[in-house]
């Protein structure tokens, strides 16, 4: 083997390795490094403070609020998206123009940029002129404050996230449903299986890899929610919608507390990393595969 033949594979993967290292590996390590320092982005000196940033974070009431906001947001978004999209998929999993149309319609939010979606929903949820309040007014209900009230703001953001995620999740569920061979349903029909039994004993177990995949992907995505918050609420009112990534952004790029923000980033990394590890662990052991 010539030297060239030996080196060729490395040469081939080098560009992607370089890009990956520059934009993924290096920033991660740099963030971990910065989390041990006190730095304001501008001053030439960084002061080593050890674990002080982490200590401050865990004692900071705002940070605890942020963590709980993020967790509530994630749990609500993931649960609602998964359940609703599974129901939609069960309904849409058949041929016909109408079903194809609905499938396309609910998928369309997925391809629209989150900034546009945020602006659209800000208008829909406007307490004075918004369409939503007009609609609920038609039914005789009181107007809601939506994004302007601490009690409803987070849920309003969950509604936007579910609306955006529904199409993609439904599509993946439909693909999962279609991968179940039809003769299994026929066998179930001959076994006198009622629809609910078929769903619980056959469809749900066979969809478990799909459900698991979507839950984890949605969790990771929800933990990193940023755009809707930055545009629609800026974390308010009174911190009721402040989440982890928005908190990192505010501390890092508005208050220039880089070390502090990096420490929060490390915590986010740990949470998402843990979720990913759980995902692969469970995938290999608990979830059914044919």
């Amino acid at each position: 083997m010539t030297v060239w033949e030996k080196l060729r594979p490395y040469g081939m993967v080098a560009p992607s390795i370089v890009i990956f290292s520059m934009f993924f590996i290096y920033p991660i390590f740099y963030m971990i490094y910065l989390s041990f320092y006190d730095w304001n982005f501008i001053s030439p000196t960084k002061t080593f403070v050890g674990l002080q940033n982490f200590k401050d974070l865990l004692l900071d009431e705002d940070f605890r609020k942020v963590l709980s906001n993020t967790t509530v947001y994630t749990l609500l978004t993931v649960t609602l998206t998964t359940v609703l999209s599974l129901l939609l998929a069960l309904w849409l999993n058949r041929k016909g123009f109408f079903h194809a149309f609905v499938q396309g319609a609910i998928f369309s939010p997925h391809i629209i940029s989150l900034v546009s979606i945020s602006l659209l929903w800000s208008w829909l949820m406007d307490p004075e002129y918004g369409l939503l309040n007009w609609v609920i007014g038609l039914f005789g209900f009181d107007k809601l404050q939506w994004l302007s009230h601490p009690g409803t703001a987070l849920v309003s953001l969950v509604i936007v996230a579910v609306w955006k995620g529904l199409g993609y999740n439904t599509l993946v569920f439909i693909a999962g449903l279609q991968s179940i061979p039809s003769d299994i349903f026929e066998a179930a029909a001959l076994d006198q299986s009622k629809p609910w039994t078929t769903f619980r004993r056959i469809i749900l177990p066979m969809l478990s890899p799909t459900i698991f995949f979507l839950v984890i992907i949605n969790m990771i995505g929800s933990f990193q929610v940023f755009e809707t918050i930055a545009i629609m609420t800026q974390g308010g009112p009174v911190n009721s919608t402040n989440t982890l990534v928005y908190y990192i952004y505010e501390n890092g790029f508005r208050f220039f507390k880089i070390g502090y923000a990096s420490a929060a980033g490390v915590i986010l990394l740990a949470i998402v990393g843990a979720l990913t590890i759980i995902y692969f662990r469970l995938l290999s052991s608990r979830v059914h595969y044919r």
């Binding site: 299994i184 066998a187 001959l190 076994d191 006198q192 299986s193 004993r201």
Partner: protein
């Protein structure tokens, strides 16, 4: 146990007619095999009996009761699918008892039934495994056990052996025959393999293009085919068929036109000499297949290519062979493919005019 009656059954998919006006009675306790080339409607017929396919017209009766509107699960029919259709997330036990659970049978009774069936099909040590941990033959047994445990009136089997290797297939074939004897239930079996059909069925329904070509016992199908299709479908190799216009040396006396004559490869005798009276045909040997007990020759004559099969005879090495088919072993068919009875076959005298 039940008789199945199909009365004027038709099946259409949109504009395409799969089956038009099919009439068939499947006898109580019989092992009936529906056989035919792919796309002949045999599987559709089977699925209509099971209720998995809606019928467009006609009536299906099981045990004298009209079942057109009865759901598949309530027809007292059990089915074994080509790909087994086992529930992959359930254990073998779960698969077998699923139907029983749905019928609300108590756990203790279920356990006894499952244990009994598992013993019969030899699955007892595998009850807690998942289907993907089983071999093809074992999965097949699970599918059978799942069907048997419900004690149905009718067993429906849709090409159940086609996914098994040749050796296992032969073994399962015998086991199915024994099973049928033991249960005495009506079996309806679909296959495209005529060997499987002949060896298993006591009643065979040959189908083509949505029409029943012949429904008869295996022996009658072989000795007394009703038409060209059945004649050529049953038998290995198939019956040799020659166009009468290409054949010389034969005189056929019949009331209607004879368009084809046929003979079974195993009825032709090689190098029989002058003492045997019959239809003589000779040609160049194209291939020889020697299988030990039997040899198959493919011979190219002026009137067409035909096969000859011999049993326990030495292999003829000559480049050209002459064969004799006794006159009574010739089958005559009309232009519409129907078998013609009462055709008198004679050697054509050189001086005589007429005939074919």
């Amino acid at each position: 146990m039940a008789t199945i009656e199909l009365i004027n059954i038709s099946k259409k998919y949109k504009d395409e007619t799969i089956i038009a006006d099919l009439n068939l009675t499947i006898k109580d306790g019989s092992f009936t095999v529906l056989v035919g080339p792919s796309g002949c409607g045999k599987s559709t017929t089977l699925r209509m009996i099971a209720g998995l396919e809606q019928i467009t017209g006609g009536e299906i009766r099981i045990d004298g009761k009209r079942v057109n509107e009865t759901a598949p699960g309530h027809r007292d029919v059990a089915m074994v699918f080509q790909n087994y259709a086992l529930y992959p997330t359930m254990t073998v036990r779960g698969n077998i008892e699923f139907g029983l659970k749905n019928r609300g049978i108590a756990k203790r009774e279920r356990d006894t039934l499952v244990a009994d069936i598992a013993e019969i099909v030899g699955l007892a040590p595998l009850l807690d495994r998942k289907p993907q941990q089983l071999s093809g033959g074992q999965r097949q047994r699970v599918a059978l056990a799942r069907a048997m445990v419900k004690k149905p009136k009718v067993f429906i089997l849709d090409e159940p052996l086609s996914n098994l290797d040749a050796k296992l297939r032969n073994q399962m074939r015998t086991e199915l025959i024994q099973l049928h004897k033991r249960l005495g239930t009506t079996f309806v079996y679909v296959t495209h393999d005529q060997v499987e059909a002949m060896s298993m069925g006591d009643e065979i329904v040959v189908m083509n293009k949505g029409l029943i070509q012949q429904a008869d016992s295996p022996m009658n199908l072989y000795y007394d085919p009703a038409n060209l299709f059945t004649a050529q479908f049953i038998g290995t190799p198939a019956m040799n068929v020659l166009d009468t216009r290409d054949v010389s040396g034969l005189m056929l006396q019949s009331e209607s036109t004879v368009s084809h004559i046929g003979f079974r490869p195993e009825r032709a005798q090689i190098e029989a000499g002058q003492q045997l009276d019959g239809f003589r045909i000779s040609g160049e040997v194209m291939t020889r297949e020697s299988l030990g007990a039997e040899n198959i020759y493919q011979i190219k004559a002026a009137s067409g290519v035909f096969f000859v099969k011999t049993f326990l005879e030495p292999l003829y090495e000559a480049p050209a062979l002459s064969v004799v088919v006794p006159y009574e072993q010739l089958y005559c068919f009309g232009p519409d493919g129907k078998r013609l009875a009462g055709v008198k076959v004679q050697e054509r005298q050189l001086a005589m005019a007429g005939g074919v």
